[in-house]
């Protein structure tokens, strides 16, 4: 391994551009991913704020977008979902923290392919610019939701935003897939080939395992989404009919014949379900790491944790059909998908059990990273336990495409994953920037955010049980839905407070970067390799 490490060594760059812009250093690239995701999360959060305000004040004119028409609302929802899933939940945990810390934690001087690493970041960046461009073209951003089901997403005449906006949306996702494939390849090679002497697989920190398994999922899933996206672009622009049968839109016969709308759903969810684990696995890894460090104990059941993550990754590819129980797919396959989905609950339960086991008979220290790790466990439990409802096709009849689903996936792959990112930020900030973040404001930020996220997403379950359908720009057209407005009002006010509290985080982040107290090399008394090197780490990580 020493030979491969030397083979990949490159001298420290001198100029500003090679050092900070087109850098080959995994640490700089990690920070670039981190700041890209931080930008994206504010865009995504702003879109959700507009949606929440519109739902309770349908007639209000809002900043930047003006009056919100039904199609505006749907494009907000589409862009919110797409930006959050790809450019936040996939970008920060893996591209950001994974890039920065995976090589250091296995004792490597850099990633296996530094140039590929740089390319993968800049490709992601281009993808982000392309998706933002969809807001500004004629017709605006697409309205087909982040899942982009054809024929709606395949036909220009199916609605506003389905013209150039939809083409840019697909193109951006295709670019993102390419970037993620490059990243996944790099993570896998680095983990397999660049480990320091003595760092066997079963000695790797759980964070490294989580990034490694995420990379396997990425490699297998993004290729499928890329192909699916190209076929959709062809249906839209070259007159093919992969996804579109003979349809009549608004009295006009479209020129397609024989395509299958369900084909897209199969391909999309073959990517889409593993994507859930791509978002959450790194959060699981960092939570395990932090719980162990701040409990002053080794992780409870290390091997069980590794096997649990491997089986989550394995089963993750066999459950995509549970998104399609109501789609017209064969009811027999629904039966199989349902059983496999229930099975994937088991390793998730094992993980929760082990996190509690780690805290049992410990001496817990409560710095902000630990608060967020505990918050992660709480949200993971709450989001996870609505899964067995949705995994049963008979219950999905009532709950599918209601706010129950929205509450479920936001808790587990949205805010739980984001709590993982907050935990990681507060935890690794001293190593990345050489200074400490403010503890008091960290705690204030934590408690408002924890209570706030529950106040936003728990009521969605009640709304869904009562038949509250999702993706409705207004709740005024159906008699029984209007009665559910008080829940919407409560969620909107909770969202306004929670989003405001995020300024505390950002101010703390940037203030501490320049003004925080200097950090020691190992402020949390942790045991992994990044804490054995200087703060911040030198160009080749260990000053060899």
């Amino acid at each position: 391994m020493a030979t491969s490490a030397t083979a990949h060594a490159h001298a420290a760059p001198q100029g500003f551009i090679r050092k900070y812009i087109f850098s080959l250093d995994h640490k700089v690239i990690g920070l670039q991913y981190f700041f890209l995701a931080l930008t994206a999360v504010w865009v995504g959060m702003f879109l959700s704020l507009l949606m929440r305000i519109h739902l309770i004040f349908p007639a209000a004119s809002l900043p930047l977008v003006g009056e919100i028409k039904p199609e505006t609302y749907l494009s907000l929802l589409t862009m919110h979902g797409t930006i959050m899933v790809f450019f936040v939940l996939t970008t920060a945990p893996q591209g950001g923290f994974g890039n920065y810390f995976l090589p250091i934690q296995i004792g490597a001087p850099d990633m296996a392919f530094p140039v590929l690493n740089m390319l993968s970041f800049w490709t992601t960046f281009v993808g982000f610019v392309v998706i933002l461009a969809a807001f500004f073209v004629q017709g605006g951003a697409p309205l087909h939701g982040w899942t982009g089901y054809p024929p709606l997403s395949a036909l220009q005449s199916a609605g506003p935003g389905e013209g150039l906006g939809a083409d840019l949306w697909i193109t951006s996702i295709a670019i993102f897939c390419l970037a993620s494939l490059m990243g996944a390849l790099n993570f896998l090679t680095t983990t397999l080939d660049m480990r320091a002497k003595g760092m066997t697989m079963m000695r790797m920190p759980l964070t490294v395992w989580s990034w490694f398994i995420t990379a396997i999922l990425g490699l297998l899933a993004f290729g499928v989404l890329l192909s699916a996206g190209i076929l959709l672009l062809m249906d839209r622009n070259l007159g093919t009919s992969f996804y579109v049968p003979l349809v009549v839109v608004n009295g006009q016969i479209m020129g397609h014949k024989g395509g299958s709308p369900l084909l897209w759903q199969h391909l999309f969810w073959f990517f889409g379900h593993p994507e859930v684990y791509i978002a959450i696995l790194p959060g699981m890894g960092v939570t395990s790491q932090i719980l162990s460090t701040f409990s002053r104990k080794p992780i409870f059941g290390y091997k069980a944790m590794v096997y649990a993550m491997l089986s989550i990754g394995f089963f993750g590819f066999m459950v995509w059909g549970h998104h399609m129980f109501m789609s017209g797919m064969s009811p027999y396959s629904a039966f199989a998908f349902s059983l496999l989905t229930m099975c994937i609950g088991v390793p998730s339960a094992i993980k929760t059990f082990n996190w509690l086991g780690t805290m049992y008979k410990a001496r817990i220290r409560f710095q902000t990273p630990m608060l967020y790790a505990i918050g992660f466990v709480s949200l993971f439990v709450s989001g996870g336990l609505s899964g067995p409802f949705l995994a049963q096709p008979v219950l999905d009849i009532q709950l599918h495409d209601t706010y129950f689903v929205v509450g479920h996936f936001h808790l587990i792959m949205g805010v739980a994953a984001i709590f993982g990112m907050f935990a990681a930020t507060y935890y690794w900030f001293p190593k990345m920037f050489g200074r400490m973040m403010n503890e008091t404001w960290g705690r204030v930020h934590f408690f408002i955010t924890l209570i706030g996220t529950y106040a936003i997403f728990m009521p969605m379950h009640y709304l869904g049980i009562a038949g509250g359908t999702r993706r409705y720009s207004q709740y005024t057209e159906v008699a029984y839905l209007t009665k559910l407005m008080p829940i919407h009002q409560f969620m909107t006010y909770a969202a306004i407070i929670t989003i405001s509290a995020q300024f505390i985080f950002v101010i703390n982040l940037f203030w501490s970067m320049f003004k925080g107290p200097k950090a020691s090399d190992n402020p949390w008394e942790s045991t992994t390799l990044e804490w054995t090197t200087t703060t911040p780490p030198p160009h080749d990580n260990f000053g060899a």
Binding site: L143, G251, P298, L339, F366, L385, Q392, I397, A466, E477
Partner: protein
């Protein structure tokens, strides 16, 4: 800090649980045969998941407080875990999850594997941006042929579905409101002409996507007279939120009268 966590996590947990138990917002009253089982299975799942939810969240809060570091706390219990506990926990959750799944599958099978019985009322439901159309086969018991070339949504009704209105043999009844006789099985044939829609009647515990290119047969049995709302549950475009309809479940006599009146209007 341990105490603060305990209080916050416990309060969140108990408040969340309260609204599930108090049923402040709940499933609409069921008006179909399947409602009894679905609601029962929902309640059972809720109780089981509720127990796990309370146990996990309450212990999380308790552990945070109980095992906080204090000058007086004992040294940590240095443990790498327990294979026996892991195995017991794994087996328990597997039995719980798979058991729940198998219980629900019987009703799923009866609804989706089997065909509707021979005496079922035939209704074709067609989704179109942004309206639902309902077609009854008329006295001959057969749906008349449709053609995409004849489709004219602006004319509504039969023309919207592409029926040949000048054909004297065409006796189908097309309406914008669904009428169904109570306590009789309904054989629904679901279609869409443009994008994917989803036919959702919360009170009848019924939902199924309408997919262009597919003709999906489903069956259910309404069991209570009343008027129930129909929604679209699959994002279908800018009018998705107002793609709304009504189903009137009436007595068999009222249904016969209503259908006869619609047929009479045609001729």
């Amino acid at each position: 800090m341990g105490l603060a966590l305990l209080v916050v996590i416990w309060l969140i947990t108990l408040a969340s649980t309260y609204f599930f138990v108090a049923k402040t917002w709940w499933l609409p009253v069921g008006a179909a045969e399947a409602a009894g089982f679905i609601d029962g299975q929902f309640a059972l799942t809720l109780v089981l998941m509720g127990i796990v939810f309370l146990a996990a969240q309450l212990s999380l809060g308790y552990f945070a407080w109980r095992y906080r570091e204090q000058p007086s706390s004992p040294p940590v219990d240095y443990s790498h875990g327990s294979v026996k506990l892991e195995l017991v926990w794994t087996v328990l959750t597997t039995v719980l999850f798979v058991g729940l799944n198998l219980m629900g599958s019987r009703v799923w099978a009866s609804q989706r594997f089997d065909q509707a019985g021979p005496g079922a009322v035939q209704v074709e439901v067609t989704g179109m941006q942004f309206a639902w159309y309902f077609r009854y086969p008329g006295p001959d018991g057969k749906y008349a042929p449709t053609s995409v070339k004849l489709m004219d949504p602006s004319a509504g009704g039969e023309a919207a579905l592409g029926l040949n209105t000048s054909d004297p043999d065409e006796d189908d009844v097309v309406t914008g409101t669904m009428y169904l006789p109570v306590d009789r099985e309904v054989d629904v044939s679901l279609r869409s002409v443009d994008v994917i829609h989803s036919f959702f009647v919360p009170s009848l515990r019924f939902k199924q996507d309408a997919v262009p290119g597919l003709n999906i047969h489903m069956h259910f049995k309404p069991t209570a007279i009343g008027e129930y709302e129909i929604l679209c549950a699959e994002l279908c475009g800018l009018g998705h939120y107002k793609m709304h309809g009504m189903v009137h479940v009436v007595s068999q006599e009222d249904f016969n009268q209503w259908l006869a009146a619609r047929e009479a209007e045609k001729h």
